[in-house]
């Protein structure tokens, strides 16, 4: 074999073994997830729906912060925009479910693009503060634009319909939520391995070096914000499919922090990490829901402990474990 092929073939074979080792459990997990409503109560399915929304939110936040290294603290705002867009698309325009989800994603993405364009002028703490301010402003808008959002009274979301069938409960919504979440997960893997994903990581490491590679840094940054907002918008649209009511209180900085914690706990810059963080931390958060005071303290504590002792998150440790098992 000429050396050129030897180099190309070696790693490919190693990773295809690993891939096969992961494929079986992955397929089993998807099947188990798909069958979840058959075996479990409505509450468990509700929690699963919530976790899947968190998964989509985390994947999106990880794209902009983890992959592209741009600090965005307005994720909850894009999530809220998605919820209202989907709910209103359904209520006022009578859009079917798929239309509502797309509308939610697109409206959020457009605003994300605008924020990304503004954010080009800033970096680090200034960027964090600006996006934080945008998030707060949006929450204020949700609270006060009563004709559209219902203001502090919240908004009743009518049941959405898929192919003419109304979705009335969590179990009916679940296949849609699971399907879309898996789709978004697949898209994330594709993006992360694409030229765009590589460009994100290059920009994260160094603007100047990225420019020297011929990467249009401005466009790439805007794209990161736009994509991340699209994910948050779709997550909002998903929430609207299994929820009957939305109140602006849940669309503030607290939610952004929750998702940020998930991404950090899982491992910034890792798709698997975002997935893992959302599930693990989402479960903790659901368990602590009865005790809100303890909940917030626990979030803070977990975030601090991870930043101090596990700054790379759970993902590297887990992937080492998986690889280790593969050798046995």
């Amino acid at each position: 074999m000429p050396p050129q092929q030897a180099v190309a073939a070696l790693p490919a074979r190693a990773s295809s073994n690993l891939r096969l080792g992961l494929l079986v459990p992955a397929v089993a997990a998807v099947v188990a997830l798909a069958l979840l409503p058959v075996f479990t109560s409505g509450y468990v399915v509700y929690v699963a729906n919530v976790l899947l929304v968190y998964v989509v939110l985390s994947l999106g936040l990880n794209l902009v912060i983890g992959e592209a290294g741009q600090f965005s603290l307005s994720h909850a705002a894009f999530y809220g925009i998605g919820i209202y867009a989907a709910a209103l698309g359904n209520k006022l325009l009578g859009l079917p479910l798929v239309g509502c989800l797309l509308l939610a994603g697109v409206v959020a993405a457009l605003l994300g693009g605008v924020i990304g364009t503004i954010a080009l002028r800033m970096r680090d703490i200034y960027l964090a503060l600006t996006t934080f301010a945008f998030g707060e402003a949006m929450q204020w808008l949700f609270l006060n634009w009563e004709p559209v959002t219902g203001g502090p009274n919240g908004l009743r979301i009518p049941p959405s319909s898929l192919f003419g069938v109304e979705i009335l409960n969590d179990k009916q919504a679940y296949p849609v939520v699971l399907g879309v979440a898996l789709l978004m997960l697949g898209a994330t893997v594709v993006i992360s391995r694409s030229r765009l994903g590589r460009a994100f990581r290059a920009v994260r490491e160094s603007d100047v070096a990225a420019m020297a590679m011929g990467i249009p840094v401005r466009r790439v940054k805007i794209m990161a914000f736009l994509l991340s907002a699209f994910y948050a918008g779709v997550a909002g649209g998903l929430f609207a499919t299994f929820s009957t009511y939305i109140h602006p209180e849940s669309l503030g900085f607290q939610t952004t922090m929750t998702v940020l914690t998930m991404v950090v706990v899982g491992g910034l810059g890792s798709t698997g990490g975002a997935l893992l963080g959302a599930v693990v931390f989402g479960l903790i958060s659901e368990l602590l829901r009865q005790a809100p005071a303890v909940q917030e303290m626990t979030y803070g504590l977990i975030l601090i402990l991870f930043m101090m002792f596990v700054p790379r998150g759970l993902a590297p440790a887990v992937s080492r474990w998986v690889r280790g098992r593969g050798h046995v």
Binding site: A209, A210, P216
Partner: protein, 238 residues
């Protein structure tokens, strides 16, 4: 030889601090041209103006006879100018492989890119051994090699090299400059910024000396190397 790049009266400033004033230089196709001078004389700024990382405040930059003054940095790369930026900026968190792929970011010809990875391995065999390794774990010399290899992945007509000898042992400097010469013989024109005057004059055919942002002296490298007055005045008397 036809002219590949020329700067005419180029000026640049960082805020109110004048970094370059009325710099004119010419790089013929196929040559290695050296840009020498003390720290802060404007050598790196000159390269950054050419690659559009720093805007110019006046003058004209012509590449293959066409102005690139209004181009964005990625358009300059696409036109055929690749830079090895100063300060050893490899993408530390990424593998050697990803670094090389990033060098080819604007190219769509997967087959050509794969060939050029092999070409990079031919120049720098150690990169083949390090292919899967994180670039941040490479030694200083290996990182320098990766920087040059990465810039070559854009298949540039003109390579801008910023201090390839920085922080390397004399032996490694000899080795790297041997490879730089080979790259040039294989058809890539090079504009070289260097502090190591002896090595730079040894491998270039023509040299410019910058002082306080202006061209203070220029001439064929061999005659600059032989000119004791120039050596003493500008180049630290080597």
């Amino acid at each position: 030889m036809p002219e590949l790049l020329s700067l005419r009266d180029v000026s640049a400033a960082y805020g109110r601090i004048q970094a370059l004033s009325h710099v004119s230089l010419s790089v013929p196709e196929g040559a290695i041209v050296a840009l020498l001078g003390a720290n802060g004389a404007g050598k790196s700024t000159t390269l950054n103006v050419i690659s559009r990382l720093v805007p110019q405040s006046g003058g004209e930059i012509l590449f293959r006879g066409a102005s690139i003054a209004a181009r964005a940095s990625h358009e300059v790369v696409r036109a055929g100018i690749a830079q090895v930026p100063e300060g050893r900026e490899v993408f530390r968190e990424m593998s050697v492989r990803e670094n090389l792929e990033l060098g080819a970011h604007l190219r769509r010809d997967a087959r050509g890119v794969a060939e050029d990875v092999e070409r990079a391995f031919a120049y720098f065999p150690v990169l083949r051994e390090r292919y899967r390794q994180r670039a941040g774990t490479l030694s200083g010399g290996e990182q320098q090699m990766l920087l040059i290899a990465r810039a070559l992945m854009a298949r540039p007509a003109l390579l801008l090299l910023d201090e390839p000898s920085l922080g390397l042992s004399p032996l490694l400097v000899q080795q790297i400059f041997g490879i730089i010469r080979r790259i040039n013989e294989d058809g890539t024109t090079i504009l070289l910024v260097e502090q190591n005057v002896g090595v730079a004059l040894g491998c270039s055919s023509y040299a410019y000396i910058l002082e306080n942002g202006e061209i203070a002296h220029h001439g064929p490298s061999a005659s600059l190397a032989a000119d004791g007055a120039v050596q003493n005045a500008y180049l630290g008397g080597h």
